[in-house]
Symmetry: C2
Subunit: 385 residues, 2 copies
């Protein structure tokens, strides 16, 4: 097992009706800014419920945070927070809204250009406004971690930062709040959570047996519940399991003490930034090809994955790895996510553009062994056409 | 899945050489009291290493905390903390020392009789002195939870309390610090951790799929590593896995959103208080019998446990449950813990004494369905003779 530090102070309030608990989690004198995405939060009734739970507190609202939250939009929220002397932020939405709120929280008291906080990967963050979240979409795990991904329209950049200052103080996880989601978003969430596990699991063995078992347990659960989680009318238990799996897939626990990859995410971020493809869909495209290209260095874990997740125990190693990758691709396709660049109208000409962006963002050595160079990224993209 | 709240703010610093990180975790102006058990902490060199890491800070020491820490001993530490105006406590030891420090931390500023804090189950705890731990024994999980078990010699009581005020601020987990442990304590730790999982897992199904998979992952890991964890010379990775499993077995995570039993622990506590049998050994005695007596209400989970942990897939339900219980008993015996009261020189005459103590401590309805009455406890003890 590798050495690690782990600390995750976010309080989770899980279950039906937990929005009412907001009152006990936010200081009664707080000046609260509620941040959300589109109007679905209002239509579904969640915004009203939140406002009711906040009672007599002074409330401001900021809507319109995009699916890939942009620096440009968020800076308007930063101005609002400064102007109105807001002292508590409340994200109502999915990972994009929560990611956006993390940026706002960190930017408010920063004296330089807040984009530096993103470019520095979060290292320059010295403090943040307190914030919590009401989760309405299971996918990114942002509700219980200190990571945020922000896009900048101006430069077509999509970059991640992390800081211990941006853990949510609490997150309200009421699975019934996901009942009104379109099927596309539920499917994206399943693949996003699955991919988060893969990034922290499919590397090389370091005798981290618990982390492996936990990662496998998350993937097994996702595979078991996926069909039911997508059914209408929505099934509470399936959505509850999806919600808790997605949270645990990226709250630091399964990644503690193990090597991590994240190259699929980085390449995927460029595809989203350049071509506006849903985040999860970029992962469905990149990851099967990456596993194939990196089958040598990932061999031991690919065999373990095949055996424990897909029950592949027969055949030569390469044959078993082929099957495991095919199964993964099949799982993504079954929940409705296409896994080829051509499915999103992208041909070979896109590859140079993606590579150029990777180079611009200094993503020239990636992966758990720092061996995914631009040349390897090219082969991954070629294999994903 | 049941509704739940989960929050665990303890910072874990895991790996070789992490004692040196103490300096960064404790305020440099702190007046520190180091609390420990026997002289093994000094002989193994851990105390010296801790003192060196604390540098120029004012340090006091309090040794002699027992394997089942007593109110009587701990009150001496409380007096010392008050007298010397200590503002940071550092536990160096296993679960008993950490449990003891939790009591001391909570008792210092309590104005009534501190035993009330234990008797109230922790409800009366309003604040606690900050504390951290350097773990030297993998077993109880106390290093990352808010639970403590304290004994009182005067009344032969052994009672648990819990409070969000007594989470360790940090815990240093260096697996190599367990290398000097006697085999008996390593074996006890394995069974203790395994039993913690069982208490939170072997109840009834509530569609908490992740919690089940995580619980199963912890048990599978314990079974896999047990032989190697007991080997001499000690194997780092086996001890590292044991340490992390034991921590995760009782840090609140696998118990969130599921029913919990804990009757084996409560009955076991009486056996320890009355007859000074090691905690883990009482669990090895009580648990197989409890599973047998409660096989009706625990049926679905016993079958799942048998199948997923012991690969028992053939035969009638009762036959499969028999096998699963036999396998559990066998596992305890294989690591060296006897599983019958007679192995500890206890006969039928002990049963009435245990039941009387259970009644005194108001343990008259226990288990996940509140159906373990004194009569059921009698049958469990009779089955454990």
């Amino acid at each position: 097992m590798l050495d690690f530090e782990f600390c995750n102070p976010t309080k989770i309030l899980f279950g039906r009706g937990t929005v009412a608990k907001l009152d006990g989690e936010i200081p009664s004198s707080a000046r609260v800014l509620i941040l959300y995405g589109g109007e679905s939060a209002r239509r579904a009734g969640t915004l009203d419920e939140v406002i009711q739970a906040l009672g007599e507190r002074e409330i401001h609202e900021f809507g319109g945070i995009e699916a890939n939250p942009t620096f440009e939009t968020l800076m308007d929220a930063v101005e609002l927070v400064r102007r109105e002397k807001i002292d508590f932020l409340l994200a109502v939405g999915g990972g994009s809204v929560i990611d956006g709120v993390k940026f706002v929280a960190a930017a408010v008291s920063y004296e330089g250009d807040p984009w530096e906080l993103v470019e520095s990967g979060g290292k320059d963050i010295g403090s943040a406004v307190s914030f919590g979240s009401v989760l309405t979409l299971s996918a990114t795990g942002s509700e219980m971690n200190s990571i945020s991904v922000i896009s900048r329209k101006e430069t077509q950049a999509k970059l991640a930062f992390a800081s211990p200052h941006v853990f949510p103080q609490f997150s309200i996880l009421d699975p019934s709040k996901t009942f009104t989601l379109p099927a596309r978003q539920v499917a994206n969430g399943i693949v996003d959570a699955f991919s988060h596990v893969i990034e922290q699991y499919l590397t090389y063995p370091v005798e981290a047996r618990v982390q492996d078992r936990f990662a496998e347990g998350l993937m097994q659960t996702l595979i078991e519940i996926a069909p039911k989680a997508m059914e209408e009318p929505p099934d509470y238990d399936a959505r509850a399991n999806l919600m808790w799996v997605a949270t645990l897939a990226l709250n630091g626990l399964i990644g503690a003490g193990v090597p991590q990859d994240w190259a699929s995410h980085r390449i995927g971020h460029e595809l989203t930034a350049l071509y506006s493809i849903d985040h999860a869909r970029t992962l469905a495209v990149v990851m099967p090809s990456l596993l194939n290209v990196c089958r040598g260095t990932k061999k031991a874990k690919l065999l373990q994955y095949g055996e424990r997740i897909w029950n592949i125990t027969e055949g030569e190693d390469d044959e078993r790895i082929d099957k495991a990758i095919t199964k993964s691709r099949g799982f993504f396709e079954e929940v409705g996510l296409k896994t080829r660049m051509s499915d999103y109208d992208l041909g070979p000409e896109a590859i140079d553009d993606v590579l150029r962006q990777l180079e611009t963002h200094d993503m020239v050595v990636m992966g758990e062994r720092d061996d995914i160079t631009l040349d390897v990224s090219r082969r991954i993209l070629e294999g994903a056409l």
